[in-house]
């Protein structure tokens, strides 16, 4: 029984980091109405930035945050501005921006394989960092310390993004664009600038997730693929576009992944996750927290 509680706690902690990774995806979808298939790759790039920042400077892994977040914000902003915006404009009268979705897949292929070319296929990790393998003893249970910090980062980031969207003028402009692009444009909001901003913020959040992951997770060119599909499932569970839903969806996936192997072969948990995903899609496609509008 104690094992199950221990697994559940670690699952919730890991799941919250999944949720953090998915938060940027849901924000970008909420505003652009595009599933960003390159999101896992952006997380991967962030992990490399964090890894090299720590390796080259010898700083504490969490200090890397001050470097990773602005770098990834600029990366996402420029990616949207230079690569995705022109395609958006070409397809602007189409209701379903299918081309843009596929183009983000192209970005995914390019980023993953460029990383493979530059850094090679080997796994890297921050071996000497003070957090690696650190455990908190809770009675007889062992709780991973870096995951605990990741949980904190996930909750704080979710809260911060929520407040930003609700309380600031920029946040209101983002929400207005998300609800109705044309009406927002008529109010003097530059929709494409908002898109750039949303993409930049979404990518910066992936940067936060990367900093939380790097102390205990391996970094390799295809690490994003592991998170990609997980993130899609999480945002649909929580409701595409819902900020709080991402965290909740992440925790659900983390719980399934950690507790289910106690009862069945570990390879089957993936099937359970897909099954749950399809169930939510059919029964309540707007997700647990999702708002029921256009899509």
């Amino acid at each position: 029984m104690l094992y199950i509680i221990e697994d559940a706690i670690n699952g919730i902690l890991m799941g919250s980091i999944y949720g953090l990774a998915a938060l940027g995806l849901t924000l970008i979808f909420g505003v652009l109405k595009v599933i960003n298939f390159a999101h896992g790759s952006l997380l991967m790039v962030s992990m490399y930035v964090a890894y090299w920042a720590v390796t080259l400077t010898g700083l504490h892994p969490y200090i890397a945050l001050v470097l990773v977040v602005p770098v990834m914000f600029i990366f996402g902003y420029l990616l949207q501005d230079i690569v995705i915006k022109p395609i958006f404009k070409a397809e602007k009268n189409v209701r379903e921006p299918i081309t843009v979705i596929i183009v983000t897949t192209g970005v995914w292929y390019i980023l993953d394989n460029l990383t493979l070319l530059i850094f090679g296929p080997q796994y890297r990790n921050l071996e000497a960092n003070p957090l690696r393998g650190k455990m908190l003893e809770l009675g007889e249970m062992l709780i991973s310390v870096p995951k605990l910090w990741g949980f904190g980062a996930a909750v704080l980031t979710t809260l911060a993004i929520h407040l930003f969207l609700q309380r600031t003028a920029t946040g209101r402009a983002i929400r207005a664009t998300s609800l109705d692009r044309e009406a927002a444009s008529l109010m003097g909001i530059n929709a494409y600038k908002i898109y750039n901003l949303a993409f930049g913020i979404g990518t910066a959040i992936a940067g936060v997730a990367a900093v939380a992951l790097v102390p205990f997770y391996n970094v390799f060119p295809t690490v994003g693929v592991l998170f990609d599909i997980k993130c899609f499932i999480i945002v649909v569970l929580g409701g595409l576009g819902s900020i709080g839903g991402a965290l909740l969806g992440g925790i659900i996936i983390g719980l399934i992944e950690s507790v289910a192997p106690q009862f069945m072969a570990a390879t089957w948990t993936e099937a359970i996750v897909y099954g749950l995903f399809l169930l939510v899609l059919f029964v309540k496609p707007s997700g647990i927290f999702g708002v029921k509008h256009d899509w």
Binding site: K33, V34, I87, E96, T99, T105, G106, L114, A271
Partner: protein
């Protein structure tokens, strides 16, 4: 020569050329690349029935491909049934699965539909990876199925040379191209088009958009499964990661968009461009620059979508018309 005769003769000349190609191309490698070009052109044309005409984005066609490959292989390995028959059985099963997937998902908007189809295909892969025996059928889990190269011959769809495969996939491709060009001019084609562009307006006109989409999905998944059988017989080895590969689903969509989604020639042009790029860069850069072909893929995709959002078929069709004008000395009748 008048423009009309030219217009009729040129495709025939093209057909004669591709029919004679194996006589000129003696290298098995090059022939294999041609076979893959046709296979991907075929797959993308089948995908196009849903992804192009119906205006949605299916990203899980690997599920039907895998169903086709596994069904015919299991039937021939364990029951001695000819792959030709197994091919049809696989097609029917895939069509049924396609309808089951389509019924609930076509109600969803684009993003959800794309994600749901991925989840279905990946769900199939995970299940096949985890199941060793499904009732009387051995799936062999992650190890996959090996077809021993014993009974060569047309009845077993197994040949020692590449040429028979070349002709089989060529016939399949020509057939599916004729079928789609027929459908695009049929009532179903117009229904699909209307439903893809303006679903509300189409429904207001009394068109049963959902029904048209489900029919297209059934045909598309049936045809995709046939290619799965062909692939199994060509490689004589299938496993879940190859037959239910997510990359396959994406590659089909890539080819369709680059060539021109919703057009007849688009998938062929896309496959003709992308497959050789991928195979040759794998041959030349495979050891030194792994993954180079996928970078090239992505760059081509982004460039084409930025400068020719309707795919390569548009400028190339214009070029072809101008060639016809030049050769016949006539202007196209407006």
């Amino acid at each position: 020569m008048t423009r009309n005769t030219l217009q009729r003769l040129l495709p025939l000349a093209l057909l004669a050329t591709v029919l004679c190609l194996p006589l000129a191309v003696r290298s098995a490698t090059y022939l294999h690349i041609m076979i893959l070009v046709y296979l991907y052109a075929y797959l993308t044309t089948s995908w196009n029935l849903v992804g192009g005409f119906a205006g949605v984005l299916p990203l899980g066609h690997a599920a039907f491909f895998g169903i086709g490959a596994y069904t015919s292989t299991i039937l021939s390995l364990q029951y001695g049934i000819s792959p030709w028959l197994g091919m049809l059985v696989g097609g029917v099963i895939a069509a049924a699965v396609g309808v089951l997937i389509g019924l609930p998902t076509f109600k969803m908007r684009g993003a959800y539909f794309a994600l749901a189809t991925i989840a279905f295909a990946e769900g199939f892969r995970v299940m096949v990876e985890n199941i060793d025996k499904l009732g009387p059928f051995a799936l062999n889990g992650p190890r996959g199925l090996q077809i021993p190269p014993l009974n060569f011959g047309l009845a077993e769809m197994m040949f020692s040379g590449k040429e028979p495969y070349y002709y089989i996939i060529l016939i399949m491709l020509v057939a599916v191209l004729l079928l789609t060009s027929f459908i695009s001019r049929s009532k179903l084609g117009y229904y699909l088009n209307a439903g893809g562009e303006e679903p509300e307006a189409a429904m207001a006109l009394g068109i049963n958009v959902a029904r048209a989409k489900v029919i297209a999905m059934a045909m598309s998944s049936f045809l995709t499964a046939l290619a799965g059988t062909f692939y199994a017989q060509l490689n004589l080895y299938i496993h879940p990661k190859s037959a239910f590969s997510l990359d396959l689903s994406f590659e089909i969509a890539f080819i369709a968009l680059i060539g021109g989604r919703g057009s007849i020639v688009g998938p062929v042009l896309g496959a003709l461009l992308l497959r050789p790029v991928s195979d040759f860069s794998r041959i030349y850069f495979g050891d030194t620059l792994p993954g180079m072909h996928l970078i090239i893929f992505g760059v081509i995709l982004i460039l084409v979508m930025t400068f020719q959002p309707r795919g390569l078929q548009e400028p190339l069709t214009r070029l072809y018309e101008r060639l016809l004008d030049r050769l016949s000395g006539e202007r196209r009748a407006a």
